[in-house]
Symmetry: C2
Subunit: 485 residues, 2 copies
């Protein structure tokens, strides 16, 4: 790796710098602008996503600066003014950031982060914020699907070797833990982020000994309390399981140890786990657990359990660490407002022939509305930054795509989702521990109706606009469409 | 980010350490072992893959060491012996590594890297080697498909914001360049790896000015020689293209500048590019290029060009940087031989009920055989480490899955694919420059028959075994199947 990796200011699309240089030249650089981060589609056509990556965004912004070599790099391009290079050399983030906490359930078209900052600053943050939130939210969302499929059985993250780069492995395992995994195989994620790492043996261990029996024996001698024997190096049912049973009975049972397991890593998990369970039970080892890993995802796990597979713990690799069936989280970063010298905010919109690509303008708040009786989330509502929802009165919400679809709430509570992260460049937020984030995420998912959690064709959760915001959006659409004639 | 990212020794599956501790306890740690890195399936069911990532593996191994905090981390787990912790504290790679150079066309089941080292060392390298070669080979392979679809038009890598983590973006852009891309939007990849970065404007630039016309004008004032105007913020054909034409004619044409362009980032690229081309040509701007970006991949690019889309440069984002349609490169790391104290090599095999998962045992060489007349690659042949292919004589190859399928070569050359990378722990290989790797890759692809390069259902390139290797494999299969009874 490279020591440059420590300072990721340069992990930034080149056009942020050409624009930044241009803003300075046009005296627009001190203009405060508002950008929203939001996404349009939920991976795997699921009913919700899970926000993750905020802590890494905070660390990045705290450390954001350009080194001498970076300035030299820009100078060598012969397209940036010396004023701009000086600006970069002194760069420090001075703006405000609001965001939903990690582990929050999130939905399309609502701002999961809002950046208010001078134009160049806001622009320079774009690439890293997007890639970080996109990556970790993707993996947390996928992990949560897989964990839910396992119906309470622990799911371990095993995917480092198939991850898309070092960060994909390390931060991916962090996100998977937030999404509900019980641990990871990635040692560095444990050391850096306190996600419990574990591991036992690969096939190479078995091959290094003269026989499978000796390999198992040697392992149980060293790790009597951590014995998970990999039984598929030669022949699972004829060799692996019988050898494991023999070693457990000879070495561990006499010591009173009961928390051992076997691991299946190939073949048909349903068939093999049922046969192995029978053999273990007949040998009196009813306590022996069965760990299974081999190209698993939420669909295969659900099917295996429906077929009565006797698996106690799932290890999931490539299909989780890359979110293989949907490997992109499409978060975008869009300008929604500009402030003038007097602090007046002008909302901005980006039009598109595709209606779903038209942005929600203005500096906004996101409210989540809950049914007081059930505690379940009913809908989210986007409001202007200076609106509040009065929960003591009746409140009518409506679908922004079909405004005749209305609903009047009476017995409800409202929670603002975004919290302040940076204020005038200073971090005002303390990240919870990874265990707290994971617990919060689990509680968050519990507030959703089962219908929203279905894997296929889930119920669409409503993200509505307040009347005021809807009026402003409509007005801007008309005005800008006129302008473009 | 974290300063720990510099030393990625801990980016390692936990079981490498439990096994390592066990090897030491069982006095197996000094035993030299041989591991092969190979893969089983080509992403997107393509006809070949491209190797990439070797340079990062070399840098990792050169720097591989465990810090004090790492040792403390292991001690805190209460499962590693002090002998092992001491071993880790003094860790230095001492083995040999052979690998195919970056940019080489590679095929399933042939070793793209071979590691000969004392058991613990070989084990500790596994995770990082796999994740690095898997990631970069994945992206280089995908990029090459996309570049081939563009039929000579430049393809730019635009995907950082959708990459799976920082490394996914930075090293992914490097791999995309090896695969044939003309450049990247990722500034850090340029600074670190000399992959040319470029970029112009986002929608925010246009929104920051009172009108699209003023935004374009301001841009051309600063960057008259780098004017790529984004024309789809409001309305591509009614506003964006006319405003671009006006600004080009008012500001650039009078200066004699001709290398400007417009960029389409939404809507139907085929329709819009044809209409825009017509408008530009009618305005006399036949030199104006059209850049297109919007959810592109090899299939869409091929279709667009078949429909006569007037695109000169393609920008490709998420579908390349994550290899969206096939986001996993399944390289594995398998024990193939063990050496005894006298230097005698015992081949090892991993059996499986799935025949394609049975490994090719032994320390091996990979030859690529070329037709002397056409220069095209005919087949690869895996031999024992001490075999050589005599190209002055007739040479018969056969399909290892159907041994009656034979072919006798007469007029051919043979090239050994793996080259020495480390010898006794010292790096003996100098990585070529990124431009050299890219040029080599292009030449490599030219040695393949068109039939192998087809996107759908390509001709299967042969990877054969020498008679000696085939005999050993058969013998080991029988012996180990016996043992498992």
């Amino acid at each position: 790796m490279n020591s440059k990796n420590e300072n990721l200011a340069m992990l930034c699309d080149f056009y942020e710098f050409t624009m930044g240089n241009g803003y300075l030249k046009n005296n627009l650089h001190k203009k405060n602008v508002y950008f929203d981060v939001f996404f349009r589609n939920i991976p795997d056509d699921g009913g919700f996503a899970i926000a993750a990556g905020l802590q890494q965004v905070i660390e990045y912004i705290k450390d954001l600066h350009f080194d001498k070599e970076d300035i030299e790099y820009f100078r060598s391009k012969n397209m940036f003014s010396e004023d701009f290079l000086e600006y970069l050399a002194d760069f420090k983030f001075t703006g405000d950031i609001y965001a939903v906490p990690e582990g929050t359930c999130i939905f399309p078209r609502e701002p999961i982060m809002t950046i208010k900052a001078p134009a160049i600053e806001a622009q320079i943050l774009e690439t890293f914020i997007l890639l970080t939130l996109n990556h970790q939210s993707l993996i947390a969302t996928k992990a949560n699907r897989i964990v839910r499929a396992a119906q309470g059985r622990p799911v371990l993250e095993f995917g480092s070797r198939r991850a898309q780069g070092a960060d994909g492995a390390v931060k991916g395992a962090r996100a998977a833990y937030i999404g509900g995994c019980a641990g990871t195989a990635c040692t560095l994620t444990d050391e850096l982020y306190q996600v419990p790492a574990s591991g036992t043996m690969a096939h190479a261990w078995v091959q290094m000994f003269d026989s499978e029996y000796e390999a198992f024996k040697a392992y149980c001698e060293i790790y009597p309390h951590n014995a998970v024997l990999l039984v598929d190096t030669y022949n699972t049912l004829k060799s692996g399981v019988p050898n494991a049973i023999r070693v457990f009975k000879e070495m561990l049972v006499p010591q009173g140890i009961t928390n051992f397991a076997i691991r299946l890593d190939s073949g048909d998990i349903s068939y093999l786990s049922k046969q192995a369970r029978k053999m273990l039970d007949e040998a009196g080892l009813t306590n022996c657990k069965i760990v299974a890993s081999n190209a698993l995802d939420e669909h295969l796990i659900r099917d295996l359990l429906m077929q009565g597979a006797k698996v106690d713990v799932f290890g999931v690799g490539e299909r989780m660490i890359t979110s293989k069936s949907a490997p992109v989280f499409g978060g975008v970063y869009k300008l929604v407002a500009i402030e003038n010298e007097n602090g007046e905010i002008t909302p901005k919109i980006k039009l598109s022939e595709n209606i779903s690509k038209i942005t929600n303008p203005h500096f906004k708040k996101v409210y989540r509305l809950y049914d007081k009786e059930t505690g379940k989330a009913i809908a989210d509502e986007l409001c202007l930054y200076n609106e509040t929802i009065d929960t003591t009165k009746e409140h009518t919400i409506f679908d922004p795509n079909a405004t005749w679809k209305q609903k009047t709430l009476t017995n409800f509570t409202a929670r603002e989702l975004q919290v302040p992260i940076f204020k005038n460049g200073e971090c005002v937020y303390e990240s919870p521990s990874i265990e707290e984030i994971k617990a919060y995420c689990q509680k968050e998912v519990e507030t959703l109706w089962d219908e929203v959690k279905r894997f296929e064709n889930p119920h669409r959760y409503y993200v509505d606009l307040s009347q005021k915001l809807w009026d402003i959006k409509k007005e801007l659409c008309v005005k800008n469409a006129m302008k473009s004639k």
